[in-house]
Symmetry: C2
Subunit: 147 residues, 2 copies
């Protein structure tokens, strides 16, 4: 098993601003993909779409202002069964996110791609909280061709 | 052992443009850090500096237009002994980079930080080759406070 790891520091006095961006449909749609549907309550399913494809995530842990965990229940086969873990903590004028996309079976080329994409989406989340404007799909940062 | 993985596609007909950006002092200084010194020939040492700190890399593999491998011989203790591996291949109008920072002993918080920073520097390299302008330190994308 191999994991994608990332971290960003978001300049805000309020961990709840970051938590809201991870646990409301409007928040998620403002940094990851405009085409976000579903409910972000515990045990609910959130559907993230990008053109035809995308991911269904089950919300498996919620600790307000501290931790969010999703389990991937549908999507590309490499993603199904993996977990997306968001840990938040306050540090001075920043909220630090430790991010983990855990449980890839193999370090395939698609994992390289997803790792770089996650970094750009974390920067989109940072921008959303700091400036009010993220860069969700379809206006996301392209790292290769149209992706 | 755990690895940082990334991938970007750079729009260029010439793998050698990417290879040059990885194997010349001026190329490296234009996307990673302005304060790059040393020689990028096989078995030579390249010194990358950011303020006081930085990394010394020994060039351990060079396969023109295809592969570059550095071994970290000095720097933060978590980095020493790790390898940075760049694999290039042509794919349509793009040169695809598969990047690996291999051999971290533990998935420490600093590894999360470095993973996200590497993504921003890969985007800087992409921008350098595609537009002539990268974002090397000290004008790099900050992901947390001044870093």
């Amino acid at each position: 098993m191999v994991d994608i790891l990332h971290s960003v520091g978001i300049k805000t006095s309020s961990p709840s601003d970051v938590y809201k961006a991870l646990t409301t449909r409007d928040g998620l749609a403002a940094w990851w993909t405009n085409d976000t549907q579903g409910d972000s309550k515990l045990d609910a399913i959130i559907q993230f779409r990008f053109n035809a494809g995308g991911f269904d995530m089950k919300v498996v842990e919620l600790d307000p202002d501290k931790r969010v965990v999703w389990q991937v229940i549908a999507g590309p086969e490499e993603w199904v069964g993996t977990k997306i873990i968001w840990d938040l903590r306050k540090e001075g004028d920043y909220v630090v996110i430790l991010f983990k996309h855990q449980g890839w079976r193999e370090p395939v080329e698609f994992m390289h791609h997803c790792s770089t994409k996650w970094a750009t989406f974390l920067m989109s989340l940072k921008s959303l909280v700091e400036t009010g404007k993220g860069a969700p799909w379809p206006n996301d940062v392209k790292i290769h061709d149209r992706h």
